[in-house]
């Protein structure tokens, strides 16, 4: 049974993602028929449909895939590395560092003079935060890494609150708040070009940890005895998360829970092997973000619901269920 499930999991997820991607190109405030999309893409003459697909929906789709994928992947790696089902990408400070960087750009108004100031600052913030966490936990092992990550996250959170507190005008505070809620709306190819290289390199680093994560299920000592370099694994996970999740948060704002949930959705189907969960978690993460993004576009209402808000609203109850489930099964 399990063998069958794990063999079909990745193809099923890819098929689901393909369908969701198609839906994401068609759906929105303006609905497009599949035929219109095909003819608009085939015909090089500029048209409204072509513009809408190429400049609005396609970059948004690509970003959703990149962001969801890296969040799911990073969550799976960190849960495996820390041997803790409640670990998530934000744990090491990458997301809050990126948020703080972006908030600084918004606060000082750099975003007015340079369109990409927010994601650029976000990226720098993420790298700085994880760098500090890494420096603080040098030679200290996994626990001190987690503690350093929590400390850096808290510090970044304090910085964000400070910026909101001291915001020069209500509009600035509003701008910061909405950015923090996370969204894929109004993102262009510039955002994709900025984030994609970091996300891809980050994903590459994270994918190198698979075998080590399997061995780490036996604890760090046994993993070392099996020839795994635990320090190298930790470094790969950290650098991959900083680059990938940092860049993702920098362009979309904070999107929580995806990294926490995605590994849990696929793990039971894979015999709970942490290394085997990496690619499926990335696909599941991408699917979650795509569905959530579609929902924000399709749900009725005057103001578009923010992606981060929607994911959290659905994610938090799941988290609660997870806590209860873990307590019940002791897994």
């Amino acid at each position: 049974m399990k063998g069958v499930a794990s063999r079909w999991l990745v193809p099923t997820l890819i098929a689901t993602l393909t369908l969701l991607s198609a839906a994401s190109l068609l759906a929105g405030s303006v609905w497009l028929a599949p035929g219109t999309v095909v003819s608009a893409l085939a015909d090089p003459a500029p048209s409204l449909a072509r513009l809408l697909i190429l400049e609005v929906r396609l970059p948004r789709l690509v970003l959703a895939l990149l962001v969801g994928g890296i969040l799911g992947l990073s969550g799976a790696v960190l849960q495996g590395l820390l041997r803790n089902p409640l670990a998530e990408p934000g744990l090491l400070g990458a997301s809050s560092g990126a948020s703080l960087g972006a908030v600084i750009a918004l606060y000082y108004g750099f975003s007015a003079s340079l369109a990409l100031a927010v994601p650029l600052f976000g990226l720098v913030g993420a790298l700085a935060a994880v760098g500090v966490a890494m420096a603080l936990s040098r030679n200290g092992g996994t626990l001190s890494l987690v503690l350093a990550g929590v400390a850096v996250s808290t510090l970044a959170g304090a910085g964000i609150s400070l910026a909101l507190n001291l915001a020069p005008n209500p509009y600035a505070a509003y701008e910061i708040m909405t950015w923090l809620m996370g969204s894929l709306a109004d993102r262009s190819w510039d955002h994709v070009v900025l984030a994609a290289p970091f996300v891809i390199v980050g994903a590459g680093l994270l994918l190198l940890t698979g075998r080590a994560l399997d061995a780490l299920a036996l604890g760090e000592r046994q993993a070392e005895s099996l020839g795994i370099d635990v320090n190298r694994t930790r470094l790969l996970a950290l650098a991959g998360t900083a680059l990938g999740v940092g860049a993702a948060t920098a362009v979309t704002g904070a999107i929580g829970f995806v990294g926490l949930i995605a590994p849990h959705l696929v793990r039971p189907l894979l015999g709970h092997r942490p290394g085997a969960a990496l690619v499926p978690s990335a696909l599941a993460g991408a699917a979650i973000v795509l569905v959530a993004d579609l929902a924000t576009r399709l749900l009725p209402g005057q103001t578009e619901l923010r992606l981060g808000v929607l994911v959290s609203a659905v994610g938090a109850p799941f988290f609660l269920w997870l806590v209860l489930h873990v307590r019940r099964t002791g897994a």
């Binding site: 061995a215 780490l216 299920a217 036996l218 000592r221 070392e224 005895s225 020839g227 709970h272 897994a331």
Partner: protein, 255 residues
């Protein structure tokens, strides 16, 4: 066939000296048991011998080559190590846990080649785990997990096997079984180093015994030269009677 030797090894944890200038050798084909009271430094000795803990001074050598010069992958293939009360953190099946013992033998890319499956099956059979094959490792009893871990440690047929308290939590039958398997491995030429508290079991399987006390080797040598009333009495600080008869050696503490 590998000889493992510690030469003047000192290990510090913070300022505390955990092992103090320890020199001891483990010969191929021999089963050496490390005994001593709690906190004597047995586990540290095993860790440092396995190359998992750096020595502050002195050298650990494998066939006269310093362990620090042996590449990580080669060491992992030749030496298996099992810590005290091992845990599995995910609900991985027993079969997959045993397969993890072959991590160092995996090809650079891809999963475990099918040619290794018979080895895994044999390891499962050896430790009476056939029926538990698909059970998640998190749902095992302590004794069952201990057997899974022994199967995991021996599946790669290492030259050197270092095991810390493998029989803790095992019922008498499985403890004896485990001891017999370790004995058999040594008879096949493996260098086996085991930390044990059950002295009757030690007397039954050990070729050599190393007694550790306060981070120092207080006695070492052939089992019957160390398992004596004088040495054991000093080691544990309790009066001891050692009786040898046709049924073996019985060791009784009478403090």
């Amino acid at each position: 066939m590998s000889r493992l030797a510690l030469d003047d090894v000192t290990v510090r944890r913070g300022r505390r000296v955990v092992l103090d200038r320890v020199s001891v050798g483990f010969a191929p084909g021999r089963l050496t048991v490390v005994i001593g009271p709690n906190g004597a430094g047995k586990s540290t000795l095993l860790n440092v011998a396995a190359g998992l803990l750096p020595a502050a001074a002195g050298t650990v050598s494998l066939d006269d080559r310093p362990l620090t010069r042996v590449p990580r992958a080669e060491l992992a293939k030749r030496r298996a190590y099992l810590p005290q009360s091992p845990r599995v953190d995910w609900a991985i099946s027993v079969e997959r846990v045993v397969a993890l013992g072959l991590t160092a033998h995996l090809p650079a890319f891809g999963g475990l080649p099918a040619t290794w499956q018979p080895r895994i099956d044999a390891a499962l059979a050896r430790f009476d785990l056939g029926v538990l094959r698909d059970r998640p490792a998190t749902e095992l009893s302590g004794g069952e997990l201990a057997r899974v871990m022994l199967a995991r440690a021996t599946v790669g047929t290492p030259d050197i096997l270092i095991v810390d308290e493998p029989t803790a939590g095992l019922d008498p039958r499985h403890a004896l079984d485990a001891a017999r398997h370790l004995r058999a491995l040594a008879d096949e030429g493996c260098t086996v180093v085991v930390a044990l508290h059950d002295l009757d079991l030690v007397a039954r399987i050990a070729d050599d015994v190393v007694a550790v006390h306060d981070g120092r080797v207080s006695a070492s040598g052939a089992a019957d030269t160390v398992l004596t009333e004088a040495v054991l009495g000093d080691l544990y600080g309790v009066a001891v009677r050692v009786r040898r008869d046709d049924e073996g050696v019985a060791i009784r503490f009478i403090g």
